[in-house]
């Protein structure tokens, strides 16, 4: 299970966001380069269609693979009152022939994306991860060296935190509180709820850049 919020930010403000996050999180950023393959079950497999994501981490010299299943999100009055999305999510690290396995099991490639950017992992009331990535699509099958941005000039920000049935309220509160610090630069909300860029972003970014230029301590 995890709590999730998402938002977008103009690429020109990402450096300012990174400065802000560096100060808030107090940890080093982790570079991200992930090839994400979204597979769907073929037409005759399963009583209902199913979807699974294969994530290939290209940041290390030897690529590593993870399988991720994102399940249904919490619904109902309780869910409506929470400002984050709570959904089931299961991951498993796997060895490198996982794509061949799923093809042989009857899954087909639906689409693939390349996510390049950075992430911060830190603890602030919950174990939180914030990723800021440019999302690209490949011009040829699996050609990760040949990608174009899906949304030029815009990057995607996602904040996630693992949760359980017992603690998701506390985790949701921790994520929401953290997001308030980012409000001048971007607005984060449940995936699927579009908010656009924040009007104060340019001014906030300028302030962060000048502050960072004049002073090494935050």
């Amino acid at each position: 299970m995890e709590c999730v919020v998402q938002g977008i930010i103009e690429t020109q403000h990402v450096e300012a966001l990174e400065i802000l996050l560096q100060g808030l999180c107090g940890v080093r950023k982790e570079n991200i380069k992930v090839h994400e393959l979204c597979l769907k079950s073929g037409p005759n497999l399963g009583s209902e269609a199913s979807e699974v994501r294969l994530l290939c981490n290209l940041e290390q010299p030897e690529p590593t693979w993870t399988v991720r299943h994102v399940g249904g999100s919490m619904r109902g009055a309780g869910a409506d009152q929470i400002s984050v999305l709570v959904r089931t999510m299961v991951e498993s690290k796997v060895s490198k022939n996982v794509l061949r396995l799923f093809y042989l099991l009857g899954y087909k490639l639906d689409h693939e994306l390349l996510r390049v950017g950075f992430a911060f992992h830190f603890y602030r009331g919950a174990q939180i991860t914030i990723t800021v990535v440019s999302v690209g699509k490949m011009l040829k099958l699996h050609a990760t060296d040949d990608s174009v941005p899906v949304t030029p000039g815009i990057q995607v920000v996602e904040v996630t935190a693992p949760a359980s049935a017992e603690n998701y309220n506390e985790v949701a509160t921790a994520v929401s509180s953290f997001c308030e610090y980012l409000a001048p630069l971007l607005h984060l909300s449940k995936p699927g709820v579009t908010t656009g860029v924040v009007p104060t972003a340019a001014a906030a970014a300028a302030s962060l850049m000048s502050f960072s230029g004049g002073n090494n301590n935050m």
Binding site: S41, G42, P43, N44, L45, G46, S47, E48, S50, V52, V67, H69, G71, T88, V90, E91, S92, K93, V94, S95, N97, V98, R100, L101, L104, L105, G106, Y107
Partner: protein, 219 residues
């Protein structure tokens, strides 16, 4: 990782396995100074596709196995024997497969028994039982040699130990014998350095033999 041979009991024509054979095998290990060292258990599941009525079942693999091994409880192994594929995953992959609902486990087997230390060797003797019915479906043994992890370099000493073991067992009037089948690990993309993926492939290979033996008894 130490080299391991996984052996399965091949009954003589017209015979089946029974718990008396298992008891004799265990006593034989002890008679060659094997020292009891605890219990062990591995599991194997058959995954079957959930397919729509009009679909052609041949489109999907019929030998999709999931294996858990006692050395690494946090890992799980998938084998597609016909396609020579073995995959190592975190054990959470089982939860993912349950959530996908595209494949379901139909038959699950436990391999369980006692392990023994014998110098640099570790021996495991185990019964194969169906989780659903607890009936005895077979007998397996694991022969592990701790000092070597190269499959090729270990061949001679493993072969010699296997011969010693067969000779000790042959003194008992048992209707069958242990068989060692050596899969072509290279076809599965595995190197000469032994890993748990090699063990998973050996178990998958044994299943094929056990199914074939059971069918020939029925015929």
């Amino acid at each position: 990782m130490p080299i391991k041979w996984v052996l399965h009991w091949q009954p003589n024509a017209g015979h089946t396995v029974n718990s008396q054979i298992l008891a004799e095998v265990s006593q034989c290990v002890e008679s060659i100074n094997g020292v009891k060292d605890g219990k062990w258990k591995a599991t194997l599941s058959f995954y079957r596709p959930v397919i729509k009525e009009q679909a052609n079942a041949a489109e999907f693999p019929r030998d999709f196995l999931g294996i858990s091994l006692p050395e690494q409880p946090s890992k799980y192994y998938f084998v597609l024997r016909g396609q020579r594929l073995v995959l190592e995953a975190d054990s959470t992959i089982q939860t993912i497969m349950e959530k996908l609902q595209s494949y379901k486990t139909r038959v699950a087997l436990n391999f369980e028994g006692v392990q023994y230390q014998l110098g640099d060797f570790q021996l495991r003797v185990g019964k194969v039982v169906s989780i659903q019915s607890e009936s005895l479906r077979g007998i397996v043994m694991e022969m592990e040699y701790r000092p070597i992890s190269s499959w090729e370099k270990s061949h001679k000493i493993m072969g010699e130990f296997f011969d010693i073991w067969q000779e000790a067992l042959s003194k008992r009037p048992l209707p069958g014998h242990f068989v060692h089948m050596e899969p072509n690990f290279g076809e599965f993309g595995l190197s000469g350095q032994y890993t748990l993926q090699h063990t998973a492939v050996q178990y998958a290979t044994i299943m094929l033999q056990m199914i074939a033996s059971a069918q020939s008894v029925r015929n």
